[in-house]
């Protein structure tokens, strides 16, 4: 997709010593990286600083996940960096990415390829604004703190 859209691809992540991780990488990822002829590179186990740097400078973050993602921290992180997100329409991803505002929600690899060439339409400030409005960790902690109190109080009532 990235190659067809004339963009370099950086694949970043941690490859765990689990047999199914290793086998999947060898079977599915390594051959594709070889075919990319240097247009794709793999950054293994990036440090937090490296990850943030990659997210901040990326033209876009691609989330081609086939699973029904319940959330996507990396999509939130990219938007906080002002980086548009192009994601497949799976699980919670359409709720996280504002289609046409902070990136694109697509239904196929072909649409994802086409969306890469459209990311200049996205204003990085809109990405950051959405992150500040919806994905602030302090808000999450406030909600958990309230929930903790409620669960503990209800448990005490039940025990009484």
């Amino acid at each position: 997709m990235a190659q067809q859209a004339n963009a370099k691809l950086i694949l970043a992540g941690k490859l765990y010593p689990f047999s199914y991780h290793q086998q999947y990488c060898q079977r599915e990822v390594a051959p594709r990286m070889q075919r990319a002829n240097g247009r794709a590179i793999f950054v293994e186990s990036p440090s937090l600083g490296k990850k943030v740097g990659l997210l901040r400078k990326a033209r876009a973050l691609l989330v081609p996940s086939l699973a029904d993602e319940t959330s996507s921290l990396v999509a939130m992180e990219a938007m906080a960096c002002g980086t548009p997100v192009i994601a497949l329409r799976r699980g919670a991803l359409p709720q996280i990415v504002a289609d046409g505002v902070t990136g694109f929600v697509v239904d196929s690899p072909e649409e994802m390829r086409d969306a890469i060439s459209r990311v200049k339409e996205i204003d990085p400030r809109d990405c950051r604004n959405r992150a500040e409005h919806y994905f602030d960790g302090s808000r999450m902690c406030d909600e958990y703190e309230e929930l903790y109190q409620r669960v503990v109080i209800e448990a005490a009532r039940s025990a009484a």
């Binding site: 859209a5 963009a7 370099k8 691809l9 970043a12 765990y16 010593p17 689990f18 047999s19 199914y20 991780h21 186990s45 937090l48 943030v52 901040r56 400078k57 990326a58 033209r59 876009a60 973050l61 029904d68 319940t70 959330s71 921290l73 939130m76 992180e77 990219a78 906080a80 960096c81 002002g82 699980g91 919670a92 359409p94 996280i96 890469i116 990085p124 400030r125 990405c127 950051r128 992150a131 500040e132 919806y134 994905f135 602030d136 960790g137 302090s138 808000r139 999450m140 902690c141 909600e143 958990y144 703190e145 309230e146 929930l147 903790y148 109190q149 409620r150 669960v151 503990v152 039940s158």
Partner: protein, 182 residues
């Protein structure tokens, strides 16, 4: 003024919890535990070797070498956690709440009396179907998005949705972009 709580966090047994964690559940646990500790709650994290947290560490697993060892590792993790909880009760320093981020401890909650809040990080289909039958009365569940909650229709113990969040200061915006997609 909310009550200061003594909270035990439970991590997935194979992956360390730290600022550098890659997994979403580990990142969320790290951020939440740091903030709760900062707000004055007492926090303990049951996790594997290599973890670094703000409160106390309870190392209950050696960590991952191979996923094939998950069952053995998780059994030891759960046994260690139950023992820790009972020891604290006996010594008069009980946990007020267990926040389970491990994905599976809550299925063993009947072994303890402490209230357990379990955050469901995975799609419903990733959990065993029998997990929802006869949920222990001390278990409350929460989802991390509305889309996920919609798939858990019919599960009575879902307390509420708490959408995930990130440490925004760690991800400052940048207007000038490079020539690659990530």
């Amino acid at each position: 003024m909310s009550q200061r709580l003594n909270v035990l966090y439970i991590a997935y047994p194979l992956l360390p919890v730290s600022r550098e964690s890659c997994g979403g559940a580990e990142q969320m646990l790290w951020l939440l535990e740091r903030e709760m500790h900062r707000r004055g709650h007492r926090t303990t994290v049951a996790c594997c070797a290599g973890s670094r947290v703000s409160g106390a560490l309870a190392l209950t697993s050696p960590g991952a070498v191979e996923s094939d060892g998950f069952e053995r590792c998780n059994a030891a993790h759960i046994a260690g956690i139950c023992e820790l909880i009972r020891t604290r009760e006996k010594t008069g320093d009980p946990f007020d709440l267990v926040h389970d981020e491990s994905g599976s401890f809550w299925m063993h909650a009947a072994e303890i009396s402490t209230p357990v809040l379990a955050t469901l990080h995975l799609p419903r289909s990733f959990y065993p179907a029998q997990a929802w039958c006869n949920l222990a009365p001390n278990v409350s569940l929460n989802c991390v998005s509305c889309a996920q909650t919609a798939t858990f229709e019919g599960i009575a113990n879902i307390a509420q949705v708490v959408p995930n969040g990130i440490d925004l200061e760690q991800y400052p915006p940048r207007k000038k972009k490079g020539d690659y997609v990530l």
